[in-house]
């Protein structure tokens, strides 16, 4: 039993390298993968190649026959567009700000939940609910029931502290959107970090306790280093998901006032579907991809590391 278990990962890793597999067997093994692969290429890669092609054209949908090849002039326009720069900065602030706050809050919640208390399962279920709520519904909830200046719950709660009547969404549009995002993403970070805490070897913690280490130094010297991989993963995954956020911006502020709370997905949407400028929005899409590639490269490496670490452990 143990022998077969130890052999398995090795056998898997070498499966491709062993010359014993002939071509036919290779295709038989690859075969089940092909439909999914072809489907994914068609749905995700071909549109992207088209985006590259469109980005080199001047093309507005409202003016039929306006399509012509203009090389990189769309890109030039993108980089000289001061609104684009504001929006790019908004995207960075919105994405990283929300992710980092969500990670910190998620860590605190995970530490709270990583102990025995009555109704722990119920509390966990309550906590993950914001993450599950349809983002459009959550955005509506924030815009009206929570942040409405006269009738919103937040201002009602703040009234005794003299904070009533604040027009959250008009005065702090970016922060309002981020509040909704943090509310939705803190539970995800909590779940991720809780999984990290629960994978900690208990004997180490026991040893630290026996040695009389304080809770804080145990946390700093044992827990935090162990959680590092999970925190990194949370930041990276959160960034990948949140850089694409559209629903909350669309529902809560429409990117306004001006472009004060617009992020890149919303700005490109405006250019493409309200301005019908296909060439421009395609060029912006390409720029977003290049920026994302930088982050994704880092992300892939991190996931690969977790993935190979998992194989070592298997």
């Amino acid at each position: 039993m143990t022998a077969t278990l130890e052999e398995r990962p090795a056998a898997r890793e070498n499966a491709g390298g062993t010359p014993a597999i002939d071509r036919a067997e290779g295709w038989r093994r690859r075969g089940p993968l092909l439909p999914a692969l072809i489907f994914t290429i068609i749905v995700t890669q071909i549109p992207f190649i088209l985006t590259l092609y469109y980005s080199l054209q001047s093309w507005n949908l409202v003016r039929p026959g306006s399509q012509e090849f203009v090389w990189f002039s769309n890109y030039l326009d993108v980089f000289t567009d001061s609104q684009f720069r504001t929006v790019a900065l908004n995207t960075v602030v919105m994405t990283l700000g929300s992710v980092l706050i969500a990670v910190v809050l998620g860590l605190l919640l995970a530490l709270l939940l990583n102990r025995q208390f009555v109704g722990r399962g119920v509390v966990r279920t309550l906590l993950i609910t914001p993450f599950l709520i349809t983002p459009v519904a959550a955005a509506l909830l924030w815009k009206t029931v929570l942040l409405d200046p006269t009738l919103g719950l937040i201002n009602f709660v703040l009234t005794p502290f003299g904070g009533s009547g604040t027009e959250w969404i008009s005065n702090y549009p970016l922060a309002s959107v981020m509040a909704a995002l943090i509310w939705q993403w803190t539970p995800f970070m909590m779940l991720l970090l809780l999984a990290g805490l629960q994978s900690m070897p208990t004997d180490q913690l026991e040893a630290a306790r026996v040695d009389g280490a304080s809770a804080f130094s145990t946390f700093r010297e044992l827990t935090l280093p162990h959680l590092r991989r999970f925190i990194e993963l949370g930041v990276v995954l959160g960034t990948i998901y949140l850089v694409n956020i559209f629903d909350q911006v669309y529902m809560m502020t429409q990117g306004g006032p001006g472009v004060a709370s617009a992020n890149l997905p919303f700005y490109i949407y405006q250019r493409a579907f309200l301005g019908f400028d296909i060439g421009q929005s395609a060029a912006m899409g390409v720029v977003v991809v290049i920026l994302t590639l930088i982050a994704a490269n880092f992300a892939l490496r991190l996931i690969f590391r977790s993935f190979s670490g998992e194989q070592e452990a298997a």
Binding site: L5, A15, L37, F39, L127, L132, L191, L237, M251
Partner: protein
């Protein structure tokens, strides 16, 4: 798996002594438990309030001092239905169910190929799948719109089915791969020695073992498909609109129909909240592409 078989001797040893210690810390534990409850309720409260408001009359919902005691009514739900949510619900169900089925149809064999019987190239394919999730949707929406428009598939629910399948397939392959890796290897070896064809090995040996994992994967696909808004709002109109698109109508009537808005939002969110509660133990595994169990 090898780790779990080797750990029992280690974990048994320290289990006995810490009993008195635990009692000493129990007072702190109780307080931290209370804190956890308070925070949990605070996070959940907006959702609770939304559900509560959905049972109010508009007059009860629209007060400067929030009302907790009121006479519950179902009139808001009736109102949502009479304002025509029906077709949107049907569209959401079609898009969710069929895209999830398609994901499983394409994803199960693919996950099988990359996990249990991999050849060298399949590992590259695995990373290709994950890299597509890092491609921002905004970068592909323009050509998708143009192409879908040209082939006359705008405002057609099957367009969303295809796109949602593409959106969820990479996550599903990675997630199911991590479940497939938990299948004992000797079972498969036995099957291949017996000369069983591939599909029978899959159906009779592998599927029963990983069916809980497949179920969790399906639930996560359901959540993403049901919640999706970006494709839906850009590619559909009156015919193929989904529930999130229906909710957009409430931004314009802001402040006037809070109770009805809450009823609509509750209806939109309820199916996925339940799916998520059921799948909560596998949620992280799915969203982290199987990197975290």
């Amino acid at each position: 798996m090898a780790v779990t078989t080797s750990t029992p001797p280690d974990t048994q040893a320290p289990a006995a002594p810490p009993e008195p210690r635990r009692r000493k810390r129990s007072a702190a534990n109780v307080w931290l438990g209370v804190v956890a409850w308070v925070v949990g309720i605070a996070f959940f409260f907006p959702v609770f309030w939304m559900v509560l408001t959905s049972f109010k009359t508009e007059a009860d919902a629209y007060t400067t001092t929030p009302k907790i005691i009121f006479e519950p009514t179902l009139e808001q739900y009736e109102g949502v239905f009479s304002s025509g949510v029906g077709p949107y619900l049907v569209n959401s169900v079609i898009a969710t169910v069929f895209s999830t089925l398609l994901v499983l149809l394409l994803g199960i064999p693919a996950a099988f190929a990359v996990s249990l019987r991999p050849v060298k190239k399949t590992q590259d394919v695995l990373f290709f799948f994950i890299s597509t999730k890092m491609l921002p949707v905004v970068a592909v929406i323009v050509p998708i719109y143009v192409v879908v428009n040209q082939i006359g598939m705008l405002d057609n629910i099957w367009t969303l089915v295809v796109l949602y399948t593409g959106m969820n397939l990479p996550i599903a392959v990675w997630m199911m791969r991590s479940f497939f890796l938990e299948v004992p290897g000797e079972l498969l070896e036995q099957a291949s020695i017996d000369g069983a064809p591939l599909w029978r090995t899959l159906r009779e040996i592998v599927l029963p073992i990983i069916s809980p994992g497949i179920f969790a994967t399906a639930l996560i696909c359901v959540i993403f498909a049901w919640n999706e808004f970006f494709f839906a709002v850009n590619l559909t109109a009156a015919n193929a609109g989904t529930v999130p698109v229906f909710l957009v109508g409430f931004i314009t009537s802001e402040g006037l129909y809070w109770a009805q808005l809450s009823a609509a939002a509750t209806m939109a969110a309820l199916p996925v909240v339940i799916a998520g509660w059921v799948a909560q133990n596998k949620l992280v595994q799915g969203l982290s592409f199987g990197a975290v169990k």
